[in-house]
Symmetry: C2
Subunit: 440 residues, 2 copies
């Protein structure tokens, strides 16, 4: 049936038939989606058509801008320095924000980070931060600016006023199997990012089993598209492609990850070289984007100096304190509520660890209660998995490979799932790059 | 993300990826769709995935059966003769039911017809019948059986108790551009038909511009699929492929079409050979399916004899009377409320009529008020178009080609639309077959 292209139904038919919608369509309908004027069942059919038929790059750009403008635009008129945000496409064990943001702040970058909650198999920075009693994550634009002036950085939850169309789209995508669509991922991430008027943005784009787009080529396309959109919106924008084949670091689960980040920042532990490496790679790009260093080497040196002097940890304490959190939890992470039960997973055979499937580990952590099956679900911040061994290491049968922290009685199920996620082989695996490339 | 195939979300992902769902999925979820337990936004995303990725014939069968079983099953335990239903896939000016049903009834077929309302550009039998004051179209199974025993045939609106899952699916398809999907059309039609336990079913499958599937090959596939599903459900089932390139007969619009049918059945007019031909073709198949004749020729002869003796008209009067309608409207169709305004559309040039676009005429009638833009809309039963000329006829410039009956003031718009729908050429068009073939 010929449908009127000026109605939302007409737009569904255009996407269904693989056509292209004009910029005006997105401009006109994103506010209506945000307000709930377009019924959910029409939006979800449209999302499925986009998932299956794609979008032109022009459409992706138009949709991103329209999502950004569907709500309030946050700006920091009194901040003179360059402000830089950092965003990860979502990983397992990804606690980099808690290291890189205070470190770049120590080096002089203004970093007003907006972050999300965990959904799907990946954790969320806000969920992890909220392990600290008292910490606030909802701020007005004025409050954000005040925090920047006093502390130099902050972590703010994406509020419902920012890019509200994305809130509707994300809820429907999650309920209709339309999450892993490149144009929908791009417009969702960049729509929220463009709603905050920063000068720069560094994207951590994951590839590997734990990423939403495991293939390197797809992650590369995602990077290029997002950087392009950031640039056309006048931002200095770079993407770093990082490996998410195995979980990042050793801990997976909210307060367990935060504890790992705190200890690495303090310098009281050194056993997560991958976390350090990704932190330095992203931090160096943030310094470049902020115009504070000329190249990656200079950026890494500056970050390592700040790290060595304990300035990163001081900045973390300052942020938590300014956001109302109880900093005694940073000084004594053992204060975080502990899971009731602990179980060890031991190597069933001797050999080399050839794989730890990040996606399955993320799904396991979610099932244990560390993540959500649906948007409003309460999560358990004490549960998770801490790995004693990593891909490439040689292990002996009976050696403890991971410790499971859990509440409830599903121990055998968790152990079975861990056993299926960790592969032991006779030969060491080929080394995979942790940082693949920078897209700018 | 790997989704659980036992959830509806898992089913969306399977269809999204072009996979096949097990019979159990349909059995399990159709009642949940009918009850509203599955949210509309999930159902509509699933429908779009089906629209774009299709369904196996096994799935189409399973979905059809599940739709049929989502509500009450109607049966006629006290009727010993074969009961036969007739169904059209939807056309413009299609008033065949009002002729063929009383005629086959006169020949001894028990015909409990269930029919729908108009939606999209096609009219609906129930809407047309309801032009007659007092007529009832909602019956319980017991009332239907009583009508069959007393009158031999009936026209009953598909009630909300019959195949309620289809009610939900149809509403969502109409709002999401997912109407013209072969498996969805098949399961919708046949799901409702299988919910009434008749012995036979004759399908009038349209092709041409006014059909939901204009291409002959698609209409053929639709016919085969429906006949196959009917047979596997134990029905004697046949489909007749009929031409819907131009409107059927001369009148388009509810009471105008009913008037044409009444006059043809009475024999007071003879100017619609196409209506007569389709009536005889479908009626002969209904007699064959009921086991009352051996071949089409015998069927046509029997129908023509009954027609000639006025028995079809008598049976129409009997049905309307038994269903509570005022039969004086059959005797004097001029009693139907008349549209306030009449406009003539005259040939802009001399030549041969090469096309009357049935789809555009159907859309025009809908816009004039004869049909619905949305499900609960009130319709205007007096408005419509009556053609004075038909495809293939030679006309002279200035000759009246059609008369528009309308309320309101949109005359020039209607005339312009008619002008765009009727094509006049210098050469007579190639003759197209009215009845293409029978699928059994």
């Amino acid at each position: 049936m010929a449908e009127n292209p000026n109605t939302f139904l007409g737009g569904i038919v255009v996407k269904r038939d693989g056509g292209e919608l004009a910029e005006d369509f997105y401009k006109h309908f994103m506010p209506s989606i945000a307000s709930g004027e377009i019924p959910d069942y029409q939006v979800s059919a449209w999302l499925m058509a986009i998932f299956l038929k794609g979008m032109s790059s022009g459409e992706t750009g138009a949709m991103t801008q329209a999502i950004a403008r569907s709500g309030k635009i946050i700006s920091f008129p009194h901040i003179k320095q360059a402000t830089v945000d950092k965003h990860s496409t979502g990983g397992v064990g990804d606690k980099i924000t808690f290291l890189v943001a205070p470190l770049v702040s120590a080096c002089g970058v203004m970093a007003p980070l907006t972050a999300g909650r965990g959904l799907g198999h990946t954790g969320g920075t806000i969920d992890k931060l909220e392990s600290i009693p008292g910490v606030r994550t909802q701020f007005t634009a004025e409050e954000m600016e005040g925090l920047l002036e006093r502390v130099g950085w902050l972590i703010c939850a994406q509020s419902k006023d920012i890019a509200p169309a994305d809130g509707v789209l994300y809820r429907l995508r999650n309920a209709t199997g339309t999450v892993s669509s490149l144009p929908l991922v791009v417009s969702s991430i960049m729509g929220k990012k463009l709603a905050v008027e920063n000068d720069g943005l560094v994207l951590d784009v994951k590839f590997g089993s734990g990423a939403f787009f495991p293939e390197v080529e797809k992650a590369r396309e995602l990077s290029r598209t997002m950087v392009e959109i950031g640039k056309s919106a006048g931002r200095t924008c770079r993407a770093v492609l990082t490996n998410m084949e195995q979980p990042l670091g050793r801990a997976v689960g909210n307060s367990l990850e935060l504890t790992e980040a705190i200890e690495l920042l303090k310098g009281t532990r050194k056993d997560c070289p991958d976390v350090v490496e990704v932190t330095l790679a992203l931090g160096a790009q943030m310094l470049i984007v902020a115009g504070l260093v000329n190249d990656e080497k200079e950026g890494r040196d500056k970050l390592l100096q700040a790290w060595g002097r304990g300035e990163g940890y001081d900045r973390l304490v300052a942020m938590v304190s300014a956001q109302g959190g109880d900093v005694s939890y940073l000084h004594q992470p053992q204060k975080f509520p502990q899971a009731k039960n602990v179980a060890e997973f031991k190597a069933p055979a001797s050999g080399f660890i050839t794989a730890i499937d990040a996606r399955r580990i993320g799904e396991l952590a979610r099932r244990m209660g560390a993540g959500r099956e649906y948007a409003e679900q309460e999560i358990d911040r004490s549960v998770g998995i801490v790995f004693r061994a990593r891909v490439g290491e040689e292990v002996r049968a009976g050696e403890v490979l991971a410790v499971i922290y859990f509440n409830g009685v599903q121990k055998s199920e968790y152990v079975a799932e861990l056993s299926g996620s960790i592969t032991i082989g006779e030969q060491p695996p080929d080394q995979q790059p942790l940082i693949l490339e920078v897209v700018s």
